[in-house]
Each structure stands twice: as structure tokens, then as C-alpha cells.
């Protein structure tokens, strides 16, 4: 789905809404996993994504996060390893099987303890499409998800693993753009834009073999509010603190290390809010802020050593909800709200005038997020889905 967003972003304009005529899954465009593609990150050295660069970042004693490098195409969430005296637990497996194999090899260098648990933070596909690689590497491991998340994984993960053959048709608008030298609205394609489109095509071509390798593997164990895992002199609390980014967000908290792994409740630099529950999300972030955590691993983005970003995202959510409430009247749609709202202060706080970040912000916050608050106020909250508009 990220892919679609990327194509939409590159073929329309940086700040436009996703293209509703996307070739598959229709309004899936507006849903969660694609937003990073809007970032149109600065060009990385050629070939970086073909090898999929990631950074191996120490978080705390026995805790390591594998953080994705820059991508022009599909992205994957952070993967975190937590090691105890007897066994280890992994939070999220990313979406690329070949990348996961490299991560697994790196994990084996870090510890000889077996990974006996994998916890999935939520159902968006960039967080668990490599489950099978981990299950093959450590047979008998237990894959854990929140009650809401597991059936959503079953629904979307299995389908996603079959998307490989559709990649080419999704690249076609980009190839057409390069061939004609025109953007879809007829304008000349600027040189920097052309370079980004070329990079995106190269990245997607690099992604294609990953789809051939994908085999869906779902959850073995689900819970509603909390279960705690003993890794041997180290407890990991797996908690669902309420609806936020999705209705099944899982966070992992390691009390002895004061470490918190949040999934996409926190995404840096611009939060994802596709199919999200902004009012409740703010409450959840308040609960996270109350935990005794000195190091925080977001779903995407760098390891954080204070709670400043937790507070910043919470302020953003409160600000968006407040602004929509201020202008909303019964019967107003998200589009109606957008005509009269003003989120420029929030946009500047996250984007600092960076055009590509502003594209992400407009799509994720001002479009998808505002739509969700509008639905909430109208009492017609739609179910999370890649099948229909959120």
C-alpha cells in the first residue's frame, strides 16, 4: 500500500491527496502503510536500497534496534531485539524477507539466546511480513499480537504476500511520466523530480524479489490488555493501552532497562494517522509518558532518549482534534473542514518548511487524520481497513 502512495505522490504532486484511481485496493491509498513514501527523501547514493541499508542501534543493555535507512520505495518499521538470560523477544519483523535474513544473522552475532517470542505492534504490513523468516530461524517461536490485530493480519498480510505480480502495473504511471517527460497534469517534469522518480523505480525494482519471498505467517497468541513475558531475569510487559494509531496497538515495556518500544504510536518525523483514533491516541500517549522510560524506540525513526517527541505528538493530536472541533458543524465532511481549518502552526512545528515533509503532513494529518476526527465528531467512525476510505 505504501507503494501506491508513492506512485500517487510522485505522479500527482507532493502535496496532493492520494490518487483515488489507484490501480488496486481503491481508497487504500489513504490507509496507513504508505505515508513514508510521501517523504520523497533526499537522494541516497545509488544502490543503497538494493541492499536495504539499516542501522544497528544499541538501545539499552541487551536491547538493540534495527532501523531502516532512507528509502524511495517501500519502507519497513523498526525491528527490536530484547535479550534475557534464557531467551529473546523480537518486536516486529519488518516487511522484507531478505532484509530480515540479514537482521537475523546480525542478531545471532549479538546473542546465542534463542528468539522464542515475536510481538507485533499492529497490523500494518511493514511490521510483520517477515514473520516466516523468524519462525524458520527459531522453530517453535511464539508470535504474539493484540486480539484486534491478529485477524487483521490474517486478512491483509496473506493478500499482501501475493502482490508481487502487481508491482509492474503500479510502476507504470511512473514509467509513463519519465517516457513522456510530463506530469499527469501536463506540466514539465522538473529535473529533481525526475531523479526522485527514477530512484523510486529503481527501489521498487529492488523490492520485487522481496515479494517473491514473502510467506504470510500469523499470530500464535493474542491478548486483550497485557501479558508479561519472562526472558530470564528480565520481564517484558506487552501492553495494549487503548486505541491510537490502530485499535490493536501493542507497546513493549522493559522495566529493568526503562525502555519502551511503541510501534507506530510514534513515527518520526511525521506521525502516521491513517485509520487512527486521534482523541484516544492522545490518551494513550499520556499513559506512555507516565511510564518510567528513559529510552524510546518508535515504529519508524531514530531511538529517542527523552519524552519530548511523545509530548510533541500528543500536542499535535490535541491540536488537530481541537481545531476540527472548533470549525466543525453537523453535516460537515473532512473536505468541508479543510476549507476552514488552520493547522499551519502544527505543520510548521513538524516540517520546518521542508516541502517533502509537508507533503507527508498534509496526507497523514491534514487529510487522513482530519477525516478521522470528522468521522468521530459525526458519530460515524469507519472501521480500519485497506478496502475503503478511512
Amino acid at each position: 500500500m505504501r507503494l501506491i502512495l508513492l506512485v500517487a505522490a510522485l505522479t500527482t504532486s507532493v502535496s496532493a491527496r492520494p490518487d483515488p484511481r489507484a490501480p488496486f485496493d481503491g481508497d487504500a491509498l489513504r490507509s496507513a502503510t504508505g505515508i513514508m513514501a510521501f517523504a520523497e527523501v533526499p537522494l541516497a547514493p545509488a544502490g543503497v536500497h538494493a541492499k536495504f541499508h539499516y542501522d544497528t542501534v544499541p538501545v539499552a543493555n541487551g536491547i538493540t534496534t534495527f532501523i531502516e535507512g532512507p528509502s524511495h520505495g517501500l519502507v519497513q518499521g523498526n525491528i527490536t531485539l530484547i535479550v534475557g538470560e534464557q531467551s529473546a523477544l523480537v518486536i516486529d519483523t519488518g516487511q522484507f524477507p531478505a532484509v530480515a535474513r540479514r537482521v537475523i544473522a546480525d542478531m545471532r552475532k549479538l546473542t546465542d539466546k534463542p528468539v522464542r517470542y515475536v510481538a507485533i505492534t499492529h497490523w500494518h504490513m511493514d511490521h510483520y511480513m517477515a514473520n516466516s523468516e523468524f519462525a524458520d530461524a527459531w522453530p517453535g517461536l511464539t508470535i504474539i499480537a493484540q486480539d484486534f490485530t491478529a485477524p487483521m493480519m490474517d486478512k491483509y498480510g496473506a493478500r499482501y504476500a501475493r502482490l508481487g505480480p502487481k508491482l509492474e502495473e503500479n510502476m507504470k504511471p511512473l514509467r509513463d511520466m519519465l517516457a513522456s517527460g510530463k506530469t499527469p497534469d501536463g506540466g514539465e517534469i522538473a529535473p529533481d523530480r525526475r531523479a526522485r522518480v527514477e530512484a523510486a523505480i529503481a527501489d521498487m525494482e529492488a523490492d520485487r524479489p522481496e515479494f517473491e519471498l514473502m510467506r504470510y505467517r500469523g499470530a500464535d497468541m493474542t491478548f486483550e490488555n497485557e501479558i508479561d513475558i519472562d526472558l530470564g531475569n528480565r520481564m517484558v510487559k506487552l501492553m495494549h493501552l487503548g486505541r491510537g494509531n490502530t485499535a490493536g496497538d501493542l507497546v513493549a515495556y522493559v522495566p529493568d532497562a526503562h525502555a519502551l518500544i511503541t510501534g507506530d504510536l510514534l513515527v518520526h518525523p511525521v506521525p502516521y494517522s491513517y485509520g487512527s483514533y486521534l482523541t484516544e491516541w492522545s490518551v494513550v500517549l499520556g499513559k506512555l509518558a507516565d511510564l518510567d522510560a528513559t529510552v524510546i524506540v518508535p515504529g519508524h525513526g531514530p531511538v529517542m532518549h527523552d519524552k519530548a517527541y511523545v509530548r510533541q505528538v500528543r500536542e499535535l493530536l490535541d491540536g488537530v482534534v481541537g481545531e476540527v472541533k472548533r470549525v466543525w458543524k453537523p453535516g460537515m465532511s473532512g473536505d468541508d473542514v479543510r476549507k476552514v481549518m488552520d493547522l499551519s502552526k502544527q505543520r510548521d512545528a513538524f516540517c520546518h518548511g521542508d516541502k517533502s515533509l509537508e507533503g507527508s503532513f498534509r496526507a497523514s494529518i491534514e487529510t487522513a487524520g482530519v477525516d478521522r476526527v470528522t468521522q468521530e465528531l459525526g458519530g460515524n467512525m469507519k472501521p480500519e481497513s485497506f478496502d475503503e476510505s478511512n
Partner: protein, 363 residues
């Protein structure tokens, strides 16, 4: 009376006794080790103790054989024999074992199961982690110290042709004592020196295991027998494995370990599942919820009678005198001397105390 006091000191582990007549009827086939294995549904087997009711017990177990693994409920003292019985059913590995609470007859086998399948993960209520090394260890120490002496007294009474109350021994009592003595011997063979194995996965409200098409729900429906009680519920098969929330023929109550105040509500939650089959912690498989309701009514009555006494400021001793459980005693024990004795020891005494304590400590 000396024997009775000793049994009280030994507490819960010397379970409700009563030698009624013969061993409970079972539909399964007998296995070495004092239990029989009964198939309840496709892939679902209960390992049910066949000892006659007595002061000593070992626990039932449940094997749930899935597409590629096995989930087991409880790890009794006879776990070595149960592992052998399971291996005669399937070669699939055991992935998870649920401890329904922290009493030795439900957890002491953990070490044996882990030795058999090193990849096994134990699931327990979060409070088990606190109780097992404290109250559980104290219970174990008391048993190891006191049980052989108690068995010796039983043997001495039998040799004299007397029961524990120094009356002429009945056939029912003789059979029950003989079973108790065997169980004590087994306990002493198995338990001392066995490592305590705590859960790998702590639950509060519960969790669900997804094994192919099978769903196995592990739920804390409330306190009762202990604070840590878990029920394993197979929603498709409508089978509930209850741990000691349900024990036949006489409920098992520990004055300082059970929570009679909460027990009726917990049993109501169990009954609300509408199970077709109940595998109790001790006793044969039940095909309806009649007995669970009978237990619920017993505890509800105790709570109500205790509340009335507490409302007028009654002490524990006054409350004991005020509570009348004669009708329940008849209902549970009939005219079996062993069961009537056990009802007094394991219900009337500890249950009134538990209810009184909870009623006075918390407003």
C-alpha cells in the same frame, strides 16, 4: 483429634477427603500412575485420577493435541507417567503448559515437562509468580515434613482396625487411607529436590492460543480456590478445564489461600460459558454444570451467613457457631463417613474463616 490437627496443618495439599465407595467411574482407559485417559473430543484428552476420594490428592490434566503441537493443562505429581501416556497418543511436541494455580499438585511437574520438551513455555496467572515461592514453598515444606508422619499414623490406625477418629474403620475408609498412603509415598519420591519452574508467560485477564483452527482460551474468571485461578476454555469444543475452582466430591478450600467471597461470582462466570464438559481439578469429567452450581450455592450461602454474623459484629468463633451448613453437608457427603469428615475439615472450617476474613478486612 491429633490426626485431624495434623491434617489441618498440612493444609490444602492434604486435600478433601472422604472415602466414599469405589473410585469414580471413568470412560477412559487406565494408565500406570493412578489415572485414566479419556478422549473428550477430537484431539482433546483428559487424564483423570482414579484414586478413591481421600485426604491426599493428585491432580487431573488435559492434553489438547493440535495440528503440530500439544497444549497441556496442569503438571501434577504424576507428570512422568502423564508424559508417557501422552507419548502413546502423539509424537507431537508440547509447546505450552498452563498451570491453573500454584499448588504443588498442579505445578510440581513443570520441571519434568520441560525436561521432556525443552521448548515448552509455561503460562500462569501473574500472581502465581508471587505465591509459588512464598506460600507454595511453605505448603511444600509442611508436606515434606508432615505427610510421611501422617501416612504413618493412618497406617497405624488401619493396623489397629481404627479410623482417624479412633472408631472402627470401614471398608471405605480403609480403601481411602491406603490410597492416601500411596500418594504420600509418591509425593515424597517426586517432590523434594524438584526445581520450582515459574511461568514464562504471565496473564492477568487471559490470552488466546491460536493453533490452526483450534482456539484455546486461557482465562482468569476471578478468584476462588486461589487468587491465581485460571480456566482453560475450548470455545468450539465447549470444554472447560477448571483447575480447583471445581473439585469433586468435596470442594477444596484453604482458609488463608482461597477467597470464598469471590468464588460464587467466578463459578457464575464459568457457568455462563455454558460448557458441555467440565474437567475439574480433581474428580471425574462432568457432563453438566450441576455440580458447579451446587458449589456456587454452597459458597453463596456461606458468604450470606457470614455477612449476617459480621453485621452484628460477630468474632470468627461466634461466626463459626452461627453458620449452619448441615444441609450442604448432607448434599455433598451423604452418609459417607469419610466425606462428612472431609466436609468439616475442608469446607466448614476453612471456608467460614476465608469468608469471615474477607468480610471483615474489606468493607
Amino acid at each position: 483429634m491429633k490426626s485431624l490437627l495434623l491434617a489441618s496443618m498440612l493444609g490444602l495439599s492434604l486435600a478433601a477427603a472422604t472415602a466414599s465407595a469405589a473410585a469414580p467411574a471413568t470412560a477412559g482407559h487406565a494408565e500406570p500412575g493412578g489415572f485414566s485417559v479419556e478422549k473428550l473430543a477430537e484431539g482433546v484428552y483428559a487424564a483423570v485420577r482414579t484414586d478413591p476420594p481421600g485426604l491426599m490428592v493428585d491432580a487431573n490434566s488435559l492434553f489438547v493435541v493440535n495440528d503440530s503441537d500439544v497444549v497441556v493443562v496442569d503438571a501434577p505429581e504424576a507428570s512422568a507417567e502423564m508424559i508417557a501416556a501422552l507419548r502413546r497418543i502423539t509424537t507431537k511436541p508440547v509447546s505450552y503448559l498452563v498451570n491453573t494455580h500454584w499448588h504443588d499438585d498442579h505445578v510440581i511437574g513443570n520441571a519434568a515437562w520441560r525436561k521432556a520438551w525443552p521448548g515448552i513455555r509455561f503460562i500462569g496467572h501473574a500472581s502465581l509468580r508471587d505465591y509459588l515461592p512464598t506460600m507454595g514453598a511453605k505448603n511444600r515444606e509442611g508436606m515434606i515434613k508432615g505427610a510421611p508422619e501422617f501416612a504413618g499414623q493412618m497406617q497405624a490406625q488401619m493396623d489397629k482396625g481404627k479410623n482417624l477418629q479412633d472408631q472402627p474403620i470401614s471398608d471405605e475408609e480403609r480403601s481411602s487411607y491406603a490410597s492416601d498412603i500411596r500418594l504420600v509415598k509418591h509425593y515424597v519420591d517426586v517432590v523434594p529436590g524438584t526445581a520450582t519452574v515459574l511461568p514464562d508467560i504471565d496473564v492477568n485477564e487471559g490470552l488466546t492460543l491460536i493453533r490452526g483452527e483450534r482456539r484455546i482460551e486461557i482465562r482468569h474468571l476471578g478468584s476462588g480456590h486461589t487468587r491465581s485461578d485460571l480456566v482453560v476454555w475450548l470455545p468450539k469444543e465447549r470444554i472447560a478445564s477448571t483447575g480447583d475452582l471445581v473439585v469433586w466430591p468435596i470442594p477444596l478450600v484453604g482458609s488463608d489461600q482461597s477467597h470464598v467471597r469471590d468464588w460464587p461470582g467466578t463459578l457464575d462466570a464459568l457457568i455462563a460459558l455454558q460448557p458441555a464438559l467440565l474437567v475439574p481439578g480433581h474428580g471425574p469429567v462432568e457432563r453438566n454444570t450441576d455440580y458447579a452450581r451446587q458449589m456456587r450455592d454452597l459458597f453463596a450461602s456461606i458468604n450470606q451467613q457470614v455477612a449476617t454474623a459480621v453485621a452484628r459484629g460477630a468474632s470468627l468463633e461466634d461466626t463459626r457457631k452461627a453458620v449452619d451448613l448441615d444441609a450442604f453437608r448432607d448434599q455433598f457427603a451423604g452418609d459417607s463417613k469419610v466425606r462428612r469428615f472431609a466436609f468439616g475439615m475442608y469446607v466448614t472450617g476453612p471456608a467460614v474463616e476465608s469468608a469471615w476474613r474477607d468480610a471483615t478486612v474489606t468493607p
